[in-house]
């Protein structure tokens, strides 16, 4: 028999890491609150007992306000897992127990996991686990997920729980409130439509708290009139914020037991000290920019030898193919199409791995959440808040998870705004284009040029957000409050970082093997047929010449135009296309792509830079469009994003070229 086990807890307590430990899964781990935004399932077998484990987004309570919280709450309340594992941060027991109390009221089979015991110990906390377990009436397991400690005990206790029954303690809210709860409980208990589905006391408490969701459900009640009458009465006792009154009572209860189970006071920590510097009012933003700069130098310069190795490998392979395959057409297909095109893209695998390595370190160290803090002031001016900066930073890796991360934003309008500007953030797929073109024409300024694309991305996203706020009525709204827990700094764990890097690397390879492959092969076919004709007379040239006038003002020739055309599918294809086009030119000579672009003046530094900016802006890739559709639930926003981005790309590139001309560049 299979048992369903749900993992729930406050954000950033280590749910996903425990999930990964139990199931061998690959949930995303990072040191900031709000990573997991959808439920994830995995399996685990212990002693012949099969368990289905469900990782959920983090929540502070069971009253949901955002999409991710709703997913967690609905799962626990409606899907009724056999066992609920409440994961709590042992180094922050007081706040974490709040959710535990709410779960206890749900009358599910509840197990409490105290994770991060290592940190609790470092802070000098001493937790009397047995006493706590008695007070709560539920079993407790202590774990250190980063070291895999306590996982076997956890599995064991889950497996054994099929044969065990236990009931969590009922928390008293004081006589007055308890009596009110009891009154509602009696009214509901007689109605099977509720009492068979939810625990009656829990339902009574929710009615008392005037939980919108539950009040809607209660509308079907036969005793509705009486319930409403009782609610009116309860206002006299509880005031007009009954949920707040109950929350205070829960915290009071926690405060009353805490001294008996927890010894030690929180000392000043290294995190407190480092925050003095990294959150400094003057230096916060400059430090952020420097760290970001160091990440790009790392990505760009340190990965170079590996990229060159791959480049040489594919070139040699191409030469061998051309030498040994006598059928010209086949040789061209393999050497120029497959090896040239795909090789041209795969060359960037090291850069992408390095980028994700760096991003993962920034995430795991806890710095990402600090970036949200220092950027809050700027985001405030846009009517957004620091929280919206996290999707921006994630977008540097890939826009798809970044767009999903907006689920934690509570206000729908803010969320959509954050989504539609996110594709302007330069993802890793655009990096190859920058490296190729920048490296070819910007000389010593290549890294600075690439970095400036990332800055340009942020600037554009921010300006567009501001513009849309001003001119589109839909986006006019009040401010959403900014409340975010700041995690402690932590030493990045090599394993997490490597797994993250590996995941993204294999994703890239899969993409290269499928969609990029198809795109590149199409480009090869169109640029070699009719067979034997010079490239200027092939199909692709015909297509390119149609597009060329459009791009003439920007200074891109037909090859640039066609590359951008195919880049819509995946931006890496832009690079693949160039390798195919210029693979022909260098026949015999040992001329690299970058040199070719430089010496044949395909781009000048100015038009090259404009081309980079155009690539940055012009259109989201297909996967991103899909994510926009899924997260906004409407094609309207997809269309909106495509349209404004195309206009913006043209404007930006044109501005760069014109301004450049005025400054005397060609």
């Amino acid at each position: 028999m299979k048992i369903k086990v749900a993992l729930i807890g406050n954000p950033n307590v280590g749910k996903s890491l425990i999930f990964n430990n139990l199931t061998g899964g690959r949930s995303h781990i990072g040191n900031w609150p709000g990573k997991t935004v959808e439920k994830k399932e995995g399996r685990c077998i212990y002693n012949g007992v099969e368990m289905e484990i469900i990782d959920l987004p983090g929540v502070y309570s069971l009253t949901a306000q955002s999409i991710d919280e709703l997913i967690a709450r609905d799962y626990i309340i409606e899907e009724k897992p056999d066992i609920v594992i409440d994961i709590a941060d042992a180094s922050n027991l007081e706040r974490n127990l709040y959710l535990t109390l709410q779960l206890m009221e749900l009358e599910v089979k509840l197990i409490l996991v105290l994770n991060k015991m290592d940190i609790a110990e470092n802070l000098g906390y001493n937790i009397d686990v047995e006493a706590l377990s008695k007070k709560l009436g539920i079993p407790i397991v202590t774990t250190i997920a980063t070291e895999g400690k306590g996982m076997d005990e956890l599995k064991k206790i889950i497996a054994e729980s099929i044969h065990r029954e236990w009931k969590a303690k009922k928390i008293s809210y004081g006589r007055e409130i308890d009596e009110l709860i009891f009154k509602f409980e009696k009214l509901i208990a007689v109605e099977r439509q509720f009492s068979t589905k939810y625990p009656t006391r829990w339902l009574a408490i929710k009615i008392l708290e005037r939980d919108e969701d539950i009040l809607k459900k209660i509308k079907k009640s036969r005793n509705l009139d009486e319930i409403l009458k009782n609610i009116d009465e309860s206002i006299k006792v509880l005031g007009d914020e009954p949920d707040v009154a109950l929350a205070e009572k829960r915290y009071e209860w926690i405060s009353s037991i805490l001294p008996q189970v927890l010894k030690g006071i929180r000392p000043v920590t290294l995190s407190d000290m480092l925050d003095k510097v990294f959150l400094d009012k003057h230096l916060g933003i400059p430090i952020f920019l420097s760290l970001w700069w160091s990440l790009f130098r790392f990505t760009y310069d340190v990965s170079a030898p590996l990229s060159d190795l791959i480049d040489i490998f594919f070139n040699r392979l191409g030469d061998i193919v051309k030498e040994y395959i006598s059928n010209e057409q086949l040789a061209s297909f393999i050497a120029d199409g497959i090896l040239g095109g795909i090789g041209g893209v795969l060359v960037f695998l090291p850069s992408i791995l390095f980028l994700f390595f760096g991003l993962s370190i920034l995430e795991d160290s806890g710095y990402l959440a600090r970036a949200a803090f220092v950027m809050d002031k700027l985001m405030y001016k846009l009517g957004l808040n620091g929280r919206s900066f996290i999707p921006i930073l994630l977008g540097f890796g890939c826009n798809v998870p970044a767009i999903m991360a907006t689920r934690t934003i509570k206000n729908e309008k803010d969320r959509v705004l954050t989504i539609v500007v996110n594709p302007l953030i330069s993802c890793s797929a655009r990096l190859p284009v920058y490296i190729l073109i920048g490296g070819a024409v910007l000389g010593e300024y290549a890294t600075a040029g690439v970095y400036s694309m990332y800055i340009l991305g942020i600037v554009l996203a921010v300006s567009m957000a501001l513009l849309f706020r001003r001119i589109i009525p839909f986006f006019k709204s009040g401010r959403t409050p900014f409340i975010m827990e700041l995690p402690m700094y932590a030493k990045p764990i090599l394993k997490t970082t490597v797994i993250h890097m590996w995941e993204r690397g294999s994703l890239f390879l899969r993409k290269a093997g499928t969609i990029i492959f198809l795109g590149v092969i199409s480009v090869w076919f169109l640029s070699t047929h009719p067979w034997g004709s010079p490239i200027e007379e092939t199909y692709i040239a015909i297509l390119g010449k149609i597009l060329e006038p459009l791009f003439y003002p920007l200074g891109f020739d037909w090859r640039g135009a066609v590359a951008l055309f195919f880049g819509f599918i995946a931006k890496e294809i832009v690079v693949g296309a160039f390798s195919i086009f210029f693979g022909f030119g260098g026949e015999g000579e040992e001329e690299s792509l970058k040199q070719y672009i430089r010496t044949h003046k395909i781009f000048t530094p100015l038009t090259g830079y404009a081309f980079m900016a155009f690539t940055l802006t012009y259109i989201p890739c297909i996967a991103t469009l899909g994510a926009i559709y899924r997260e906004t639930g409407s094609w309207k926003w997809v269309l909106f994003t495509v349209t404004y981005e195309l206009i913006l790309a043209y404007t930006v590139a044109f501005t760069i070229v014109t301004a450049g001309h005025l400054l005397g560049f060609t």
Binding site: S290, L291, R297, Y489, A490
Partner: protein, 147 residues
């Protein structure tokens, strides 16, 4: 050593701050010259953002000067400044190594002296004793447990 030699340390930190500031300014000037007249200052890498980063490190060191004398506790700015100094030092050493390997792979001449003359590498080396002291002191204060 720390309390008695407070003055010495202040001087040490001030010098580092000054050197980072000089490096930053020169790198930015070099970059601008390179952009305008096509040639930068000799021996100074033309690096706009790199120069900016050096200025940031300088500013953190600068902030580390002041609370130093008033408090006996570990100095947060010193922790931050030395951390940043090490990050950039390591980065430029990695770039140095990568450029060397790359030159070998593509069979080019490696101008290793220019790469090794990146001032931040030497400034990181010069701040190593300070880094060691600041972080050891911090670890002592937190009894070796860092969080």
């Amino acid at each position: 050593m720390e309390i008695k030699n407070g003055k010495l340390l202040t001087i040490y930190i001030s010098i580092l701050s000054l050197l980072y500031a000089a490096t930053g300014i020169l790198e930015i000037i070099s970059a601008l010259l390179n952009l305008i007249i096509g040639i930068g200052l000799s021996w100074i890498p033309p690096d706009l953002f790199g120069g900016f980063s050096a200025l940031v490190i300088s500013a953190i060191f600068f902030k580390a000067i002041f609370p130093w004398r008033r408090r006996k506790k570990a100095n947060p700015y010193l922790l931050g400044a030395t951390l940043m100094s090490m990050i950039f030092g390591t980065l430029y050493i990695l770039i140095f190594i990568a450029t060397g390997i790359d030159a070998y792979i593509v069979n080019e001449e490696w101008k290793w002296i220019t790469d090794l003359m990146r001032p931040e590498i030497w400034l990181a080396a010069a701040s190593t004793p300070l880094t060691y002291m600041a972080w050891i002191k911090m670890l002592k204060e937190f009894k070796g447990k860092a969080n």
